[in-house]
């Protein structure tokens, strides 16, 4: 390899100045009123990552997922016709949450309250003593939620008629996501955390590298920092509508320990035999609006979704996508290591994010600051705020429809 060509060059200040250079008001990171606007403007309108097709392996498979940001529980079903449908998990009789399990296999769903029973298309198929209602069963189907799949990932949209299809929303990232392990994965590993912090404060942590050498001196350490790039800054940013990407710098001089090598060799071999040679050499991190990350690495093929729970409370879900259940002891060992190693890094982030929330919520400062290498954070708040402001403008103009 040409050593000159590999020499690290950071993104210049000028390249990102187009995003603005002003301090950022702290309101959006703790204000309950702003969060209420985000519920409507962002989480009830954008396509939201909610699952993976491997969670619905066969006709009749279903999952139930909470979307606290929209105060909703969503039932997602693979029908007998193999079509994936999504509904509000709400009985249309008197609004009771319909399904209590988080996943399972079923051909019908009965409400425990008065036994109204719905089929896999969401149609009301039976209701005891229904003649006493003043209703037609055909008008009593479950409320539908838009659902679609890209790269094996299930997304929902809580707008009755979404303005964009999922493909339009993700474009042009969809074709890139389709090249990643999640697209053909048949299983996944998972860890999750709750955190006392605004979802954007959580999300921001994972889209800047400025903190790496201070918060992760060992767990990231020399894998992604080194003498020529002491902060581990990105080699490039890409702003794609509301979404963004960064190209990650990897230190070619990094030396893992001997047991780590045993795991990494297998992960690399699996990546090569999976046809991911190109991805191995080209590390990118996708930040899909509003709350989804995907690392393109075939050796650490994880997504990270930050679900808002309240203005100062969130949940992070990290999933590692694998093709096939473990085929051998060595693969099982390597996958266990991949999850455990990444978990060390995310654990270190959680504490410092909560400390940031406490400081912001105290009212001590009115603004926070993003440097040029935190440009993704700036693009993110710009994207969220533009969405919120457009919603406010629409509501203030809205007459009849409001």
């Amino acid at each position: 390899m040409n050593v000159e060509a590999a020499k690290f060059r950071p993104v210049s200040n000028e390249q990102v100045a187009v995003l603005g250079t002003q301090p950022i008001p702290v309101g959006p990171y703790h204000d309950p009123d702003y969060f209420a606007l985000e519920r409507e403007a962002v989480f009830k309108r954008a396509w939201l990552h909610i699952g993976h097709v491997s969670e619905l392996p066969e006709p009749g498979s279903f999952i139930v997922r909470k979307v606290e940001a929209a105060r909703a529980s969503i039932l997602i079903v693979r029908g007998k016709d193999d079509v994936i449908r999504a509904f509000y998990n709400v009985c249309t009789h008197r609004g009771t949450e319909l399904v209590a399990q988080s996943d399972g296999l079923a051909s019908t769903f009965s409400c425990r309250y008065h036994m109204w029973t719905f089929n896999d298309h969401g149609e009301l198929r039976g209701a005891p003593d229904f003649e006493r209602f003043f209703l037609d069963k055909a008008d009593c189907g479950l409320s539908k939620v838009a659902v679609d799949v890209a790269a094996g990932l299930i997304f929902i949209n809580l707008t009755p008629e979404p303005e964009q299809t999922l493909s339009e929303f993700l474009s042009p990232l969809e074709t890139q996501l389709e090249q990643l392990p999640c697209a053909t994965a048949t299983t996944f590993a998972e860890y999750l955390y709750e955190i006392d912090a605004n979802w954007k404060l959580v999300y921001d942590n994972f889209q800047e590298n400025y903190h790496l050498r201070f918060i992760h001196p060992r767990s990231v350490g020399t894998t992604a920092t080194g003498p020529e790039n002491p902060f581990g800054y990105a080699t490039g940013f890409d702003f794609v509508g509301l979404h963004r990407k960064q190209a990650l710098w990897m230190n070619p001089e990094h030396q893992p320990g001997p047991v780590q090598v045993s795991a990494l060799e297998r992960l690399v071999n699996d990546a090569m035999s999976g046809g991911y040679d190109e991805l191995l050499a080209n590390s990118e991190y996708f930040a899909v609006f509003p709350n989804f990350f995907m690392l393109n690495s075939p050796i650490l093929p994880f997504s990270h979704t930050v679900f808002p729970i309240g203005p100062e409370k969130s949940r992070g879900v990290i999933r590692f996508y694998w093709r096939g259940e473990d085929d051998s002891a060595t693969q099982r060992f390597a996958r266990e290591y991949a999850v455990a190693a990444t978990r060390d890094v995310h654990a270190e982030d959680r504490g410092v994010i909560e400390a940031g929330q406490r400081g912001i919520s105290s009212g001590a400062i009115q603004h926070i600051h993003f440097q040029a290498q935190e440009a993704l954070c700036r693009h993110f708040i710009n994207s969220v705020d533009a969405t919120v402001q457009a919603y406010k403008a629409e509501k203030s103009l809205g007459g009849f429809g409001a």
Partner: protein, 116 residues
């Protein structure tokens, strides 16, 4: 040595680690790392790491579906080493602090527990 601690032939020196480290789930392995001292983990690492590649080669030849209870224990020790190596090879003296932070990151699903 009770039967419950027996490992496959050739791995007898590692049997002293079975009670503590041959655990059933990724979650339990992660918790055991959190509640162990660095000295305990170094002891396990120093004894087991030289056997790791032989253990994996033996288990690979067996195949996951053919494991005996003794093979399962050896597999579980390998999987615990995947966690412990992060304490020994990576975190070192920072392990105690990292353990406190890690406690809130709950492993909820692992391919190691999805054996056919």
């Amino acid at each position: 040595m009770t039967d419950a601690a027996v490992l496959p032939g050739g791995f007898e020196p590692l049997q002293v680690f079975v009670d503590k480290w041959a655990l059933a789930t990724s979650f339990e392995r992660s918790r055991e790392r959190e509640t162990s001292s660095l000295a305990q983990m170094r002891e396990f690492y120093d004894a087991f790491a030289p056997y790791l590649n032989d253990a994996l080669a033996y288990l690979d030849r067996k195949g996951l579906a053919e494991f005996t209870p003794a093979d399962e224990r050896l597999m579980a020790l390998c999987l615990s080493l995947a966690h412990v190596t992060l304490a020994v090879e990576v975190q070192g003296e920072a392990e105690a602090q990292n353990a406190l932070l890690r406690h809130e990151m709950r492993i909820t699903r692992s391919t190691a527990e999805r054996a056919a």
